[in-house]
Amino acid sequence: MQSNKAFIENLDRLGAWGVITTDTKLFVTGWNRWLEQRSGKPAGEVLGRHIFELYPDLTSRGIDRYFREALEGRDCLLSQRFHKFLLPMPPSVSCTSLMHMQQTARLMPLMDDETVSGTLTLIEDVTERIVTEDELRKQAERLEEAGRHKDDFLAMLAHELRNPLGPIRNGLHVLELVPGDSTEARQTRAMMARQVGHMARIVDDLLDVSRIARGKVRLRHEPCDLTSIVRDVIEDYRPLVEKSGIRLVIDSTPERAIVRGDGVRLAQVVGNLLNNAAKFTNAGGEIRVTREINRKAKTVVVRVSDTGIGMSRETLSRVFDSFAQADSSLDRSKGGLGLGLSLAKGLTNLHGGSIEAASNGPDMGSMFTLVFPLSESEVRENTTVVDGQEPAKHSKRVLVIEDNPDMGLSMQMLLTHLGYRVELAASGTEGLDAARQFQPQIVLCDIGLPGRNGYEVARALRADPDTQQAYLIAQSGYGADDDLRKSHDAGFDLHLTKPVDFTELKRVLSAVPGDPARR
Amino acid sequence: MSKILVVDDSNLARRATRAILEAAGHEVSDAQDGLAAIERYFLDKPELVLLDVTMRDMDGLEVLQRIRSVDPEARIVFVTADVQSSTREMAVAGGASGFVVKPVSSGPLLDAIAEALSGRPA
């Protein structure tokens, strides 16, 4: 008896368990501090009373059986998953779905030599473990669902990219068979250009989505007139939309709405919304674009609404998810990857704006609302890219350092066509040798070179008095602030992100100052 | 004093039950499995069958149904270690005239037999 008491007191001191002792008739003989605190019943109230009288639902829940087993000398385990708890107590972790503390309990006989002298119950609080397990399970379910969506998406992507390849391949065969200046050849080239354009758009969209997701999109920060952007985009889309028998209406005053950001990207947002509206509106329907300026709230609101097939509540909840759209067979039948809305949202958020989708239900049309903060400064006139002037006839020397042979060759051909004198090197070391001999005024250098990378090449060129005056342009697939800084530190004058737009390159090259020493 | 058929695949159970019944003056025949039980029933024409629920080949419920399909007035008392309430319900629903829990003691067993035999249909 004495050793039992000491044992139990020691257990109590551990403080981490509820400890109940009873005699052989199940009258309570021990009730520890843990229990007092958590059950709200002080020991004085509980000692000497019958356990089933204190907690009558033990009987109705069938738990009295375990006490009787213990009295017969058998240890019992009551797991949380079956019983939830032994005694009802408030949960220790704030969690909306649990009403009681979750417990695992052990019921044991108290032995006095060979005879049973009572029972010992140990109660453990496992609420936190259960909450964590439930959260993990939900997370696992979500990840699995997202994984499934990605798999579907990849399948769709592969399909979409393969489609244009067929005609392009065929076109190449045709071009081998017919004279280069024939009508057939012209038509074939036009068709191939269209298909390439289609693929390029898909790839651009994908890259954009990926860059936005990784926070690596570089935006210009200039004052842009959203009013004229909206007007221009609508006019660009008008032929397409009206050809599908849809009416396109714009409701906006000529008043300027200056937003700070990237004009090209803002046009992309509006364009994607229009494209989406047109995709899901049938002939005879209408798309209406409105633009409101709210001077007091300092915001500009652009709404694109349509009388099309609308969205169910379920679709509405996932409308901006990039991968969820793969589910829609309708989307698939219209072609494309369904990334437009996801991109629109990402770009809008990067501009400090917000986008919302609404629909009264299937067949009741949809409405997308963009809200951007107004900027104070004036718009700069004409932010569109102007074609560079013709390169000087005393042609500039350009060194292209690029390890991808196809890329290097095509670059060389294009620049030669533009009137430059071009040398090609396939590695950093080759490039440095070529630079010393060729003395280029411009060096177009890939960063990701095998052996000595672009940064090392730049540093070496700047270190050498023979080559340090060249205009160094870096080319790289990465364009985040970090990457720009690294190029600049290495000595580059300019950093272009791949894939490089040809028109942009033309402009940049023609803007490079001539021969005289620059540094 | 009645003719009783004892069906159970456990040797000890058959012998123990026989001991109780013979001590009370009943005439006992027995069978080890479902098929033998059905055969015995029609050969010996007992007034009552004591039937184990859990048997290897054919379970007690099926034996009951087969016997009753030929003789709807057969009196069958289930003897079983299975104490789930759903088992008792299935037995009653299947037409059992009684239910005794193993391990069998003579009091409850003889009471159940008496009750089943007295409930002869009008």
Partner: protein
């Protein structure tokens, strides 16, 4: 060790009653019907149990182990196939437990089930054989069957015998297979057989179970 036919019959009947009680306890706990096939009982020297076990469990197994004391003392093990245990937990908790493998909550469930089956079994023995069985806290381990049997053999005296019971339960349209193994020392086994025979004889005299 020679076991008479009477003793064998008696052990079979005892196990039948004991496992039916276990099934009933499980049924209460899970609020669903449990159908039990007639358990297969055999006795072996401890070194030879693998073949008997192999008819019911293979590969990775979940084992619940309880030590029992009293005049008849030894070890009780309930073995289930690991996949079967995971499946059983899913069945019984309506998928509320993270299903890949056995986490803490799932292990508790398996331990409780083993505890219930073994307690019911030894409870019946205790009541009918007039022998007191006292149990310890159950412990769960997850191992390959071979590893588990080896550790069992190593920890035991080679003269010990094991009572192996193979059982198949049906629960919610799924079949669960497991093995109960009772390992007893010589003296304990002899006392056990003695009491079993005494019970059998009481039954045959018509007055065993008042």
């Amino acid at each position: 060790m020679i076991i008479s036919e009477l003793q064998t019959d008696a052990i079979s009947e005892l196990i039948n009653i004991a496992f039916s009680r276990s099934a009933a306890s499980l049924s209460d706990l899970t609020a669903s019907r449990v159908d039990l096939e007639v358990p297969e009982v055999s006795v072996h020297p401890i070194a030879n149990i693998t073949a008997a076990l192999h008819r019911f469990v293979k590969g990775d197994v979940a084992t619940v182990h309880q030590v029992f004391t009293g005049p008849v003392a030894g070890d009780a093990f309930l073995l289930m196939n690991f996949d079967g245990a995971v499946h059983l937990v899913e069945l019984l908790t309506n998928g509320e437990v993270v299903s890949k493998g056995l986490g803490a909550s799932a292990r508790e469930v398996v331990t409780e089930i083993g505890n219930i089956v073994m307690n019911a079994c030894l409870g019946v023995f205790g009541n009918l054989l007039h022998v007191r069985f006292s149990f310890s806290v159950p412990r769960l381990s997850l191992d390959d069957l071979g590893v588990m049997v080896n550790s069992l053999i190593v920890d035991s005296n080679p003269m010990q015998h094991a009572l192996v019971v193979g059982a198949r339960f049906r629960l919610r349209n799924s079949e669960v297979t497991g093995c109960l193994v009772l390992v007893l020392g010589i003296a304990s086994f002899e006392l056990f057989l003695q009491e079993v025979e005494a019970w059998a004889e009481r039954s045959l005299r018509g007055g065993a179970n008042e």
